[in-house]
Amino acid sequence: MPFPILINNLKKKFGDEEIYRDLTLTLENGAITALVGPNGCGKSTLLKILAGLVQPDSGECRLELREELKFSYIFQNYQETLLPWKTAADNIALPLHLQKYSRAAVNQKIARLAKWLPPSLALHRYPYQLSGGQQQLIAFWRALITDPKLLFIDESFSALDHEQALRLRLALQEYHCEQKATVVIVSHNVDEAVQLAKTIIVLSNRPTVVSQIIDNSLPYPRTPATLVTDEFFALRRQVLNALHKVMSI
């Protein structure tokens, strides 16, 4: 059943700085949508408004059924969201503990992740003992462990090396296809946006409006091999052109 996320005439100012002036867009339910655009155009703020962490000045934000939806949010400053007094494993399991899952159920869920986790990742260690990339993995899997139907990801593959990033993008696609989850990603990485998203929304400079919407019908899963196909390059070029249009250089 389609329950799109609707954003209508959104207005928001931070002090004198106008972020959005009548921003209107629709995010498709059950699809991966990527938001790309210049720095400071309010991509992250949009996720925060949708999550209810920031209040818009005016306009409408309809996130149907948010209460019933299982929802996860991976922050841009993911390192600050991990709890340093818990081990990596306990951090991943935290949302399940909070929902009173039994030990056995938690262990079962963590075991299911094992195939996606690099063997070098020591889950008994504390986050501060892990590298930035490993911490990002922890934040990612902590968000997915509850099988959310709605997932916001803010720049969350930025600290990973190429191999880890590719592995995680595959994992995310598999998850999305299995769960029919709605995923909204904010990204500066065009390859990542094109590999993951069904719809790529290019935002303008402030005050931000939608500059272009690019549909991407490449079939899932989009593997590393997809990244070197002509279709991929064509889409990539289209996104880059759209981005260059909103740039001031």
Partner: protein, 250 residues
């Protein structure tokens, strides 16, 4: 090995200077007995059991007033930390009384609680409770907004948020407060024992030895008081390293 050298080098220099000053008679030997004599006296006092009642009396007062400070200070600090509004109302009072030398309050407490042990314990508990309140509230107020927000988005209730996040955020600050409180408590206890009637206590013994000019005993007792302070501090440093292992690494 390096650690041992670091640990020993400071005391060794002090010992050498003390020994030289004493051996060269730079200070009248009566007023400054040598380190060897003093250390001998120190062990004699301990082994003979002569000083033990005083040591235990001081430790008892220290322990009890510290316990009161923890039991009252931590919950109050948490409460104030949670309510910024309430904290703003009492911030001045806490800062004022925290800055006020506790010994200045002693005459007042003497009137309120009488000359027995309670007045001493009360004044020390009062002073250290304020320190614990301040540090605990500070910990809650300065806990990471991002961690709180991210955990809140997982759909936690207030109690779960407290158990999984806020308590741990506060713990490093609370432990610093407890360490300061125990140091201050010892200082105030020794002072009150010196100047207010008590039969036993390290402070009392220090003043007695001074009046009777038993200098080696005086130095040995000072050494013992210093050792109590140092060891109690050490317990907290150990606790901090264990209980808040992440502190300073995130």
């Amino acid at each position: 090995m390096k650690k041992i050298i670091h640990f020993v080098s400071g005391p060794a220099v002090l010992f050498f200077v003390w020994y030289s000053v004493s051996a060269l008679h730079l200070v009248e030997p009566f007023f400054l007995p040598g380190p060897l004599v003093t250390i001998k006296k120190f062990f004699q006092l301990l082994i003979s059991g002569n000083i033990l009642p005083d040591l235990f009396a001081t430790l008892f007062r220290l322990g009890l007033s510290f316990l009161i400070a923890v039991l009252v200070g931590v919950p109050l600090g948490l409460m104030l930390g949670f309510s910024k509004k309430l904290y703003r109302h009492v911030e001045f009072l806490i800062d004022f009384f925290r800055s006020l030398p506790a010994s200045a309050l002693f005459p007042l407490f003497l009137i309120l609680f009488g000359a027995a042990d309670w007045s001493k314990i009360a004044v020390v508990a009062f002073a250290s409770t304020l320190i614990v309140i301040f540090h605990t509230a500070y910990g809650v107020l300065h806990s990471s907004k991002t961690r709180t927000l991210a955990t809140r988005l997982m759909g936690v209730n207030h109690w779960q948020l407290f158990c999984h996040v806020t308590w741990w955020e506060t713990l490093p600050h609370t432990l610093v407060g407890l360490r300061h409180a125990v140091s201050l408590s010892l200082a105030v206890i020794i002072v009150t024992e010196m100047f207010v009637g008590t039969a036993v206590g390290l402070g009392r013994r220090i003043i007695d030895f001074q009046i009777t000019y038993e200098m080696p005993n005086l130095y040995a007792t000072i050494l013992l008081a210093g050792l109590v302070g140092y060891l109690s501090n050490l317990v907290f440093i150990f606790l901090e390293a264990r209980a808040v292992h992440w502190n300073g690494r995130v």
